[in-house]
């Protein structure tokens, strides 16, 4: 592993977050909102997770 090129790290990071996005959006909305006091869109945690992933991708882009 010691000779693996550095760009693989960035590629792996993007891959991890893309796979995560796929997993998130495969979940059903009603399961995500189970127990919520109302069904407002802002309570859909998949949206917040997506925003979080975009922030992470931006951070890794800026510092890679």
């Amino acid at each position: 592993m010691t000779d693996w090129p550095l760009w693989w790290a960035s590629a792996a990071t993007v891959l991890i977050f893309l796979v995560l996005l796929g997993v998130i959006w495969s979940l059903k909305r009603d399961k995500i909102l189970e127990g919520a006091v109302d069904q407002h869109s802002w309570r859909d945690l998949r949206i917040w997770a997506t925003l979080l992933i975009l922030i992470q991708l931006l951070i890794y882009y800026l510092f890679s």
């Binding site: 790290a9 995560l20 997993v23 995500i32 189970e34 992470q56 951070i59």
Partner: protein, 507 residues
Amino acid sequence: MPAAKPLSSDQYRTEYARDGKVQLETIDLIIIVGYLVLIVGVGLTISRRVHSAKDFFLASRSLTWWIIGLSIIGTNIGANDYVGAAGGAYRVGIAQANFEWIGAIPAMILASLLFIPLYWRAGVYSIPEYLGRRYNKWVRVIAAGIASVFSIFAVAVALWAIAITLQSYLGWPVWVGILVTGTVVGLYSVSGGLAAVAFTDALQVSIMFIGGLAIMWLGLDEAGGLAAFSDALVAENPDHLKVYLPADHESFPWPGVILGLGLVLSPAYWCGGQAILQRTLAARSQWDASAAMMFAAFAKTFIPVLIVFPGLLALVMQASIEYPDMSLPWVVKNVLPPGLSGLMFIAIIAALQSSLDSSLNSTSLMITRDIRHVLLPNANREHDLLIGRWLTLIILVFGMIYAPFIGDFGGIYQLLQTLLSLFQGPMLALLVMGAFMRSTTPAAALIAIVSGVALAGALLAAGLVMLYVAFYTFVYSIACLYLVSRVTSPRPDEELVDLVYQWRRND
């Protein structure tokens, strides 16, 4: 960049105290005393609501998402972070922040949307209890036993870390720091249980953010702004703004960061760590539990501002320090004005206290329920509250007695991380296979956890880097679970309802 020397515990204790000492003004001392009174007052007020074991361990399942989210962060930022992360950033730069980003965020999202709903719907008090219901009682006892032993060590380390910080800032002898901290934390942890712990954690994290933002604001001002700061940093340290370091780097090789930290240690911690997840099981609803972890993930994204930036700032300001771990006290001493020094001091103590109180409460829970209830099935459950409180006190006193000797062992943080890598791989494999494959059998789980820990011990003894040990033992445990499950009997499908994700999605 000055040569970074590894710092033994004894060196740390003496050097940090001598050169990193911060002169606190009267206003700082007033703030510190006010904080201690506030924390104890909040904790004792909440303790009046505790009437049962459920109140004590799960806050009557009444906590809202933002309280839990702040408490998660408070529990997460521990001794190693405030004491060592700034030093790490001083040495390797922003790569240190991987512990807060790739080494946390993906796992926190998975915990929020996949694992927490599973635990919450199963109605368990703890992760070992989930493993016990998913596999069998012996897996529950072994998992609780391993986690408890680690957690008891963590209590002693947290007390020691607080004591040396108090020694550095106030000149208190280590034993006085341990006694005062133990008394303060004990007052609200023993009486108030998880609710008191969560509310005080939330307060402590708020203070931590105020202190951290003050350092960043004043530090950037001192350095001439963000652009000047960046230019000064990379002028002599070209890799300090690179988040990944080469694969042959001695301490932060990127394959180890992604494979060991990102794919194994981090999910094991965020999806299976009792101290972290216990407060989500105390949520007033499943959505609150999941939202709490998501909120914590957003906060976690900005944690490097608190614990990494001071190390970079010390480098830019060419701090006259001999050891990287002295960078934070140097920044506090040279950047913050009176008043804010006291606030930052409180932030550091708060970070350590919030990890300590969480370890106390979760260890007490695991011994009371996951070990006692299984080994003594006829034990009176009505005594759980009393036993939980006594165990919290006993673990705290044990930690207080043991803490002064922590420094004599040298490299205790490394020891803690090494202990984690012993069992995190097998534990994560049990959780993942248990949650997503109904064919995984109890016999396979028992064999995987015992042999996986033994393999981790052998790999560590052979000198393999801790991050790789976690990855290899995770892969081994997955293979072991799969292969042994093919030749042993699974539990009946009807016993796995609400315990295996595949079944839950088809509800």
